[in-house]
Symmetry: C2
Subunit: 714 residues, 2 copies
């Protein structure tokens, strides 16, 4: 019997009254909510997707994957890690086919859907195509790139790649990696070696079972001199047998918090020899005689590293969409407690406190979505200039400035958006009450899969400090009169910002978006200024620049946080300003909710610098409640506009039709078929049928105790 | 080869230089830290454990479990859910033995250790002894209790119990449960029935495979009249065969976020008949002829429900201990980046930002530990009065007041302490960088196991609202001149608190604990007052009391939060004031750090009500940094004082000896033995050896295309 047939059987077997308490059918509740839409849902979907064509494409992909038995996802919580890994490998074939036949842009959209359906597989595929091929593209000369592509790097023919950067003892500190690549002039080879336990390559996705080759980051040592970390292609396995090559020792990293579909491994190299030409020499070159030529502009090599960060801002918005679809749809049909005047229980979504739990997070999701699009455009623009840049260009300064801005902005956004998304998933999970703890309702697994995003591609805390450092140095340049990049342009207006307050007499001036824009500029200017002063104080006390930056790291983090929140609000507002009609009305409510909520959350800063008075802050709290209520009315239409199919959502609580209990019950039964009792005879029967006096320790053992004769003992 | 022998083999095989980069042995780093202790570690352990005897007992239990092969825990991440469940059942036998031979107090300590080693088993054992037996004790007459105990409820002989309260459609709303218990006078029986899908008992721990009997909560219906939710003992399975009894339908709930050792299930009853005497009649009684006698004081029945909440405050402190031991020990030996003057990389613990990540959480853990002891004493005192209380007692009013205070205080503390603990685990996990994502480092599993604590025994958000409601009503009574219970006594001093500010000229007045105590009173008084005014405004607008409370729920949550944080600080300070000597010096630093940090986190409130000025708030930020640094110096001695053995910690990163990399590598290798490639021949070989042109879709198919003749078509 198919799942659908079984569902119908349940439905036929029971009348509506038998299905649900007090005759409130959740499907009816959902339909009520859907009917409240004041805007064209399809129009919003197109806006979020970047146009109708893109929406249609995504819908095509969702349908394709749903029909593909390899992409079956509703049993994913009940298979073992080993089964999951094997199934994940099985999916490669179909994607390679599409990779060969689709344009890059279209394939990227396909992968965006994959990342929502199966983040573990997305990572496993991405290790080869994103990281390994990406390392070739960023580090190989055009001749080398041709060589590896001809040898199958692009078609996955005869080789599968992995990316061996992090080590057991080194994650964030890439220049501090310990693996060595010593040039042996006699043989014209490099010797790749793992000198210590902590130098073991660690977390290497694909190493355990998939990869034949690795892009290995190691210290380039030529004639005894260390030139720093460079990238080398090192063969790991014989592609005919998958036996390890001599000197290569690999193990499985095993069980992780999530994404178990990817086979992370560790690698130790023991004096492994590779031809000199396997060092990727786009930037630094080593000649036959051991002459080392270093690039003039090291910075130009960093651009590609930012792509991952930008993608994670986009991903944070997308994953939040999925989490909120589940929690908000469930809240629209779940009823609990009745108020004094009614027999019918109240929808969770009608409780002001539940609106407070979810509506601000939805607003935040829109902010991340608009910001993600903006960041992608910013990155593409920067990269197209960077790729053509040459050291002798006259506008090089400007290009480097763009790079710096993109680098810092994306660092902060990657950190705060992945944190926001992780917190959103957990808040959504808790908002589903006990059912959020079931694996089948999907949010637990989403948390476990997403959590790694706060660490990889740059530990979030370290990234916030990068942005904080950029803000301090921008401030100091602004003081010296330099015109800054747009993102930090407000630091050129310090005189008008420091000390400014929202002096509007009209109570509802706080609902003017420009008041909020200015508010963020004022608090950011103040907080960046304070961080810069603290930094300068440290310098005066004789600390080195690096130590001074460490010393004021908490202020850097704080400045980065407020800057990023202000940035998100601005991008959201930009996005809304391009929209018209009913859609604009709704989105403006959501945008204002985001503004009010983030101000409330950061009330300390807004009060500290006097931009808002305590009375205004009270009003902001009240208005936040009101906007939560207003957005609540459009909550179901808004999540409908996210346009993720039931298959992609993969949670009975997030069903579009609202029929959550029937689907949840069916899922639980399907996943847990009735079997004979697994251990009654072995464990339970002997336990509950045992002789009771077994339990009592007999203290006597036949010994006749004599009475203590205390007197004599003394 | 034993694990120890293997470790030695690794160590012997490599020189120290080969083990670690730049010759910084983590063991040396750990010893350095341990040598910094300025206080007697053992003395602090005794203080936290409640005396030396208790410490020795815990140590005995830790050793016993470590040596018991049933309690082997280092392979727990690599076994399946079914294996885990079976092993969990296996553990019952040994604990029952101890239960029969140990005093209640001693057995409770044993269970405290169990909860840290294996929370899934702790739950499974607790379902019978805590929930099922607890339901008997709270709801059965003494005759009934004797009957069930004689029938094996205490000795687990011939019966295992479970606790069937929640339903698919009802969690928090216990009065709204749908299961019915209809009295059939003719047969002198109750008919237990599940009328709808949503009435299915859900999440019932032990139902899937363990229980023979359930304590079922159902609507008591006699002669057509509904008397509300009562408790009935319903047999589920034949204890000889474990076959389900007629009319009982049970299924497995399956995979959860964590605690998979416990076999949660769902239960549907179809007109199941039980004798009248199986209704537990301590409070409400139903006679042979269907006369229903209800208790005079319903409130007296609630006391027992609070035990779980109080236990969870204690558990939050204990689990935080474990998480922090891992993250802080790792931070003491993990090195990353070197500063400008040194070749040796810096310990994570030496970075101000890392101190900021962990030290406030350690301070918070101490606050929770001291508060947990205090709450336990408060609960025990209240219960001993409550159990002896009779409706005609003259001091009944006072007892009920104690009950209300304990009820509300424990509600808020359960919520904020479990949230704090969950956030602490995740912060610790992230502070371990990439290695925090490995299952073997323990923090991921801790998160998954602990997360349910925010939902069960009262959804956290709902609990905060209970406290908020109590605060508002206390405020209103205070205004009318009533003398309040100690916990809310500050509301009797409104005149001196509203509008008060910290006017001390001395900059370091903020380091006087009494300044902080007063500060919390001032902000709490203000916030509670605002919530009460908002409530009264709603009443004036014509809302019912319940609706008015709903309307101001965000203010209730906010008031509950600040009140609970202030309460935690006060309990911490009480605890420290009883200590002397060097230990007091250290603990006072930790206590002040907690005070400063929580003020900083809630800066909005302190600035809003003008207790601190913006200048003072700047100072508080700086002082928080300084206290993080001060506490950092004692961080390893402090976590050593938590006194959890390596076995209990069960994380190579949290090893007492600091030798984290060796143990982590060994754990990963032990858990993932080298096996033949699982799917090379089936999946990888055909993939990488396929013919490349398979991938390209041939668009032609032999068709000879004619040229479009546009002109003719028009």
């Amino acid at each position: 019997m198919s799942a659908k047939q079984r569902l119908n059987a349940v439905r036929q077997h029971l009348t509506k009254e038998e299905l649900y308490a007090k005759a409130v059918d959740p499907v009816t509740s959902m339909n009520e909510e859907r009917a409240k839409a004041t805007f064209n849902i399809r129009e919003l979907t197109h806006l979020l997707d970047g146009g109708e064509k893109s929406t249609l494409l995504k819908e095509r992909f969702m349908q394709e994957f749903e029909r593909d038995p390899l992409f079956k996802m509703d049993d994913i919580h009940d298979i073992t890690k080993d089964e999951l890994r094997e199934r994940t490998m099985e999916k490669f074939r179909s994607l390679i086919h599409h990779l060969s036949n689709e344009s890059v842009d279209i394939f990227k959209k396909r992968m965006e859907i994959v990342s929502l359906i199966d983040p573990g597989f997305w990572t496993r595929f991405g290790v080869h195509y994103g990281l390994f091929v990406g390392a070739l593209q960023s580090n190989a000369t055009s001749g080398q790139l041709g060589y590896w592509f001809q040898n199958g790097a692009l078609s996955l023919s005869g080789m599968v790649g992995c990316f061996a950067m992090t080590e057991l003892g080194h994650g964030s500190n890439v220049p501090g990696l310990e693996t060595t690549a010593i040039f042996d002039e006699a043989s014209d080879q490099f010797i790749i070696h793992t000198p210590t336990l902590t130098a073991t390559k660690w977390w290497i996705g694909g190493a355990a079972h998939s990869a034949t080759h690795a892009a290995v980051f190691a210290q380039l040592i030529v004639k005894g001199k260390n030139y720093g970390t460079k990238c080398f292609v090192v063969p790991l396995r014989d592609p005919k047998t998958y036996n390890l090559l001599p000197g290569v020792n690999i193990g499985d990293i095993g069980k992780k918090m999530g994404r178990d579909g990817i086979d992370n491994g560790w690698i130790q190299f023991t004096h492994v020899r590779i031809p000199r030409s396997y060092m990727l020499m786009k930037h630094t070159k080593v000649s036959r005689t051991g002459l080392v030529k270093e690039p003039k502009l090291q910075q130009l090599t960093y651009g590609a590293l930012l792509q991952g960060r930008v993608a994670m801002v986009v991903d944070s918005g997308n994953v939040s969409k999925k989490a909120l679809t589940i929690a908000i749809r469930y809240a629209a049909v779940r009823r609990q407690f009745s108020n004094s005047n009614s027999n019918i229980e109240t929808k969770l979504l009608d409780y002001p406190i539940h609106q407070r739990r979810l509506m601000p997070l939805m607003a935040q999701t829109f902010a991340m979505l608009f910001t993600g699009s903006e960041m992608t455009a910013m990155y593409n623009k920067m990269m197209s200039r960077l790729e053509n840049a040459k050291p002798e260009d006259t506008d090089l300064e400007e290009v480097l400035e763009m790079l710096k801005e993109t680098h810092s902005t994306s660092a902060g956004l990657k950190a705060f958006c992945t944190w926001n998304c992780l917190n959103t998933i957990e808040a959504c999970r808790q908002a589903c009450g006990g059912h959020g703890y079931s694996a089948y309702t999907g949010l637990a697994g989403m948390y476990q899969d997403f959590a790694v995003q706060c660490t990889w591609e740059g530990d979030n805390t370290i990234l916030t400090l990068q942005l904080g450092r950029y803000l301090i140095s921008s401030f100091r340049e602004a003081v010296k009169g330099k015109k800054l990049s747009p993102g930090v342009g407000y630091l050129n207006k310090l005189d008008s910002l420091i000390g400014a307050c929202c002096s509007e007499k009209d109570a509802d001036a706080i609902l003017n978006p420009q008041t909020i824009v200015k508010g963020w500029q004022v608090v950011c200017a103040n907080v960046v200024k304070n961080a810069a002063l603290e930094f300068e104080q440290c310098i005066k006390q004789g600390l080195s620049i690096d130590d001074a930056y460490e010393q004021c790291s908490q202020s850097r983090l704080y400045a980065a946080k407020l800057h990023s929140y202000g940035y998100l609000f601005n991008r959201f507002l930009d996005g809304v300003s391009k929209v018209e009609g009913n859609l604009k009305v709704v989105l403006m409510d959501v945008c204002l909710l985001y503004g009010l909520y983030t101000i409330e959350e950061n009330a300390g800063a807004f009060l500290q610098y006097g931009y808002f008075s305590p009375t205004q802050m009270d009003l902001i709290r009240l208005r936040t409640n009101e906007f939560c209520r207003a957005v609540r009315d459009q909550a179901i239409p808004l999540v409908d506009a996210f346009n993720l199919s039931d298959y992609v959502i993969n949670s009975p609580l997030g069903r579009a039709d609202g029929d959550v209990y029937v689907h949840y019950f069916e899922q639980v039964k399907r996943s847990n078929p009735q079997n004979p009792h697994p251990y009654f005879n072995r464990l339970i029967k002997p336990l509950i049928e045992r002789e009771m006096n077994d339990d009592i320790v007999d203290e006597e053992g036949g010994l006749e105790e004599e009475e203590d004769e205390d007197d004599e003992m003394e």
